[in-house]
């Protein structure tokens, strides 16, 4: 997972790139016996030195989106590099491998990469645990949770308390959840230039963090979304109560009330509050795919993950019709519903028998930037890795 958006790229291993004098963003001519392609280089520390990789499905020459980004010179359909012959054993298109040569063209086309750095700087955003330690923990359970010391009374929740558990061990970084969130919540597409400047509006993003040796690190994927903190830094700073806490533990954002001071965004340590820098349109036919249960936002307001509050309301209504409380599985968030590895679990944290509560108390559980005392409603589960010799 590269975090590069809008443009296709050719992924080259760090060693090969160093040998050929290729830096990230240098346009490289990739030639196979069947054709050539010019693409900006993405230098990857994890790829095999003898391999290069090109994603399929990125901005075909004949199918670009001129509204958001100018057509790239030459197009980027990797099928051009592949021969027409079928693969002998399966009979399918031989689209996985072909021998290519690389040559620098001397021009540059910087890639738009959403993540500033893949180095965690020891901040433990993505955590892992050795297999043996994980086993031990699973047997013995976690150490007793530290008591929270405060001058203020504990928050109480009269009804439900919604929360998420996200298993970093299960996350494969496919980003289907990010797309699902975008579709479910009418999140606009901002275009290449704005995305390059940190103005994309994703409510949910996947981060890739490198861990271990610098040359061939282990990659950890972290889905990052509003943590719905119990002690949310964004709430007290909002001058107009646009950011406030609901009785069910959601950190809500009232778009109609938002003045756009962006104080909440500054004070959010996770940078999950996204601001509408412009009025984003949904030009025809995109307006047809808007979710009628979710409002579209005006320029100048802050927006962020709601834990799919529209689905929560629908789920509660459904349960009320059946005269019972909401039970596990009644409500699925869009990201949870879409996740192919079931890394995301939504549910009621107050109910000790719910899956999410069980996971939240798992020995592998941790909070992102726990030392800030924000007490998130999102629990991450550490990735289990093999022991490093």
């Amino acid at each position: 997972m590269t975090q590069a958006v809008w443009d296709a790229w050719v992924e080259i291993a760090t060693e090969s790139a160093a040998k050929l004098g290729i830096a990230q963003g240098d346009v490289v001519r990739v030639s196979s016996p069947h054709g050539t392609l010019e693409l900006p280089a993405y230098v990857s520390p994890t790829l095999h030195p003898q391999a290069v990789a090109i994603p399929i499905g990125h901005r075909y020459a004949a199918y670009h989106v001129p509204r958001y980004v100018a057509v790239s010179p030459g197009g980027a359909n990797p099928m051009a590099l592949l021969g027409p012959a079928a693969e002998p054993t399966s009979g399918g298109v031989a689209f996985l491998s072909v021998r290519v040569t690389l040559a620098k063209t001397g021009t540059r086309r910087p890639l738009t990469i959403l993540q500033a750095t893949h180095d965690q700087h020891q901040r433990e955003l993505a955590q892992h645990v050795d297999l043996r330690a994980a086993r031990e923990q699973a047997l013995r359970g976690k150490h007793g949770e530290e008591a929270h010391v405060s001058m203020y009374p504990e928050k109480t929740y009269p009804g439900y308390r919604w929360g998420l558990a996200i298993d970093v061990d299960a996350c494969i970084g496919c980003q289907a959840c990010a797309v699902a969130c975008q579709a479910e919540n009418n999140v606009p597409v901002v275009g290449k230039a704005q995305a390059a400047y940190g103005r994309q509006l994703h409510w949910l993003r996947i981060e890739r963090w490198a861990e271990g040796k610098a040359d061939h690190p282990t990659n950890l994927f972290v889905p990052m979304l509003c943590q719905h903190c119990e002690i949310a830094p964004c709430e007290p700073v909002c001058p107009v109560f646009a950011a406030y806490r609901t009785e069910e533990g959601l950190n809500a954002q009232v778009y109609n009330r938002c003045v756009g001071t962006r104080y909440c965004g500054n004070n959010c340590p996770y940078h999950v509050r996204r601001f509408n820098w412009f009025q984003h349109e949904f030009p025809a036919p995109l307006e047809v795919q808007l979710n009628p249960d979710v409002t579209v936002r005006q320029l100048g307001v802050m927006e962020k993950c709601t834990m799919c509050v529209q689905r929560i309301i629908a789920g509660k209504d459904h349960a009320r019709d059946e005269k019972r409380p909401v039970k596990d599985g009644d409500i699925l968030t869009a990201c949870q519903q879409t996740c192919p590895t079931r890394a995301i679990t939504f549910g009621n944290l107050k109910d000790d028998t719910s899956t999410v509560a069980t996971l939240a108390h798992s020995p592998r559980g941790y909070y992102s930037l726990e030392e800030l005392g924000t007490r998130p409603s999102v629990t991450y589960l550490k990735k289990v890795v093999r022991e490093h010799a």
Partner: protein, 449 residues
């Protein structure tokens, strides 16, 4: 810059004549400056209009620098607005005689600076047309603003400050306006007569005037300390490494006075030169202001060192990373520029020769203003750019819109000030006279009637 040798002691008549002369018909230079300032202001207004129309994205803000040049300039102008009240209230209460010839200009500067600063929360808001949500007005939704938010504290602090300093300014002006009224004719006389509120200079009027002035000085004094403390809490109350510090309130107040005095000099030195006020704004006045800049500059240097020390001593990795990034990476030039302007350049004022030289004072003041603008920039932009979450680390690049609006704010301020010096006496006739020996019986009584 000295044009003539100052008369040893001006008489009361000289004071009236010299001050009223400043209100005479302006020359070409004045109109040229007015044109420049008005054009720059118009350009800034155009930029703001574009920003309202197309969205906040016209400015260079991004995640994570969701605050940038607007808040920088907001805090800068609030800071400028501090020297005026300090001079007029605190120095009045301490009976510092040297304030008499500069306090009027400094008070006007304060009001105009606060009026300029007050624009920025509006300019900065994503939906400025709803900025009134921050006011506690009665509404059918029964919604108050969030009194826990430092931005709401700002609303109260700044509106209080603007109110008190305006009232203080107007009260202090009454006897002077009466003097202008007596010297003018026609429609001007009618307007000044209205503004003079029937001032006749009777004993009871003077007694009330003195009492009111003293009371307002006492009221305004705590505001000198409180307003910028409240503004500093915009940052100190937040979590962001580089903001979250208990040092900020005194640190900001000192910086405000420092920059405010620099701005007073930037305004008063040309006034002295062009209006030939050397007899009133004497070297001893420049000397006193030079000393104040030096002292506040040294205190500021101490705060800078404490800030670095507490960061290193605390062992907070986030804070340390933020500091290291500021000192060495993308915005290091801004930080070192700030250290040079605010810590090194005022040191020249240790020499009395420098303190009494208008040229040296002017250069140092300009450097201090640059340094103080960058101080706020360095607090806001690099801190946000290197906070807790490395995913978003990065730099902010200003656009034409940001830059035009910020420069336009300077034009707005100077437009107001240029207007002021031709409409109201920019030197206090009353207080300057108080410092002079009273006229003797055998000399003509030149005081206003």
């Amino acid at each position: 810059m000295m044009s003539q040798s100052p008369p040893t002691t001006p008489t009361f008549a000289d004071v009236n004549r010299d001050v009223l002369r400043t209100l005479g018909p302006p020359g070409n230079l004045y109109f040229a400056w007015m044109c420049v300032v008005a054009l720059v202001l118009a350009w800034g207004i155009l930029a703001w209009t574009g920003q309202i129309w197309w969205g906040m994205g016209m400015a260079g803000k991004r995640v994570p620098q969701q605050w940038a040049m607007y808040i920088t300039t907001f805090v800068f102008w609030i800071g400028i607005g501090h020297a005026g009240t300090l001079i007029s209230a605190i120095l009045y209460l301490f009976r510092a005689r040297w304030r008499t010839s500069i306090y009027r200009a400094a008070e006007a500067m304060t009001i105009f600076a606060v009026l300029t600063a007050g624009l920025f929360p509006l300019i900065h808001a994503g939906r400025m047309w709803f900025a009134y949500f921050l006011l506690p007005y009665p509404n059918q939704r029964d919604l108050w603003p969030n009194f826990r938010s430092p931005l709401v504290w700002d609303v109260f602090a700044i509106s209080t400050y603007l109110t008190i300093s305006t009232v203080f300014f107007i009260v202090g002006l009454i006897p002077d306006i009466a003097a202008v009224r007596d010297a003018s004719t026609g429609w001007r006389r009618r307007i000044y007569a209205m503004l003079a509120l029937g001032w006749e200079g009777s004993d009871s009027q003077w007694r009330h005037y003195r009492r009111a002035y003293g009371l307002f000085a006492a009221l305004a004094t705590p505001l000198v300390l409180s307003v910028h403390s409240v503004v500093s809490w915009d940052f100190a109350m937040a979590l962001v490494p580089g903001w979250h510090s208990t040092l900020f309130a005194p640190f900001f107040v000192d910086g405000a006075i420092f920059s405010g005095f620099a701005m007073v000099l930037v305004l008063v030195l040309p006034m002295r030169h062009f209006f030939k006020l050397h007899a009133y704004i004497q070297e001893k006045h420049l000397d006193a202001m030079g000393k104040l800049i030096l002292v506040t500059g040294l205190v500021l240097t101490y705060f800078y060192l404490s800030e670095i020390f507490t960061t290193l001593y605390s062992g907070d990795e986030f804070d340390k990373a933020s500091l290291f990034w500021k000192v060495t990476k993308s915005y290091a030039w801004a930080l070192w520029l700030m250290y040079f302007c605010n810590c090194i350049s005022p040191l020249i004022l240790f020499w009395k020769k420098a303190r009494t030289s208008p040229v040296v004072l002017y250069v140092v003041s300009i450097l201090v203003l640059i340094g103080m603008w960058f101080e706020r920039f360095n607090i806001i932009v690099p801190s946000l750019g290197h906070a807790f979450y490395p995913w978003a680390w990065g730099i902010y690049v200003p656009t034409l819109t940001d830059t035009s609006i910020v420069i336009g704010s300077f034009a707005w301020f100077f437009l107001l000030f240029l207007g002021f010096i031709k409409v109201l006496p920019s030197l206090s006739i009353v207080e300057v006279k108080e410092t002079l020996p009273p006229p003797l019986k055998d000399r003509p009584h030149a005081s206003h009637h």
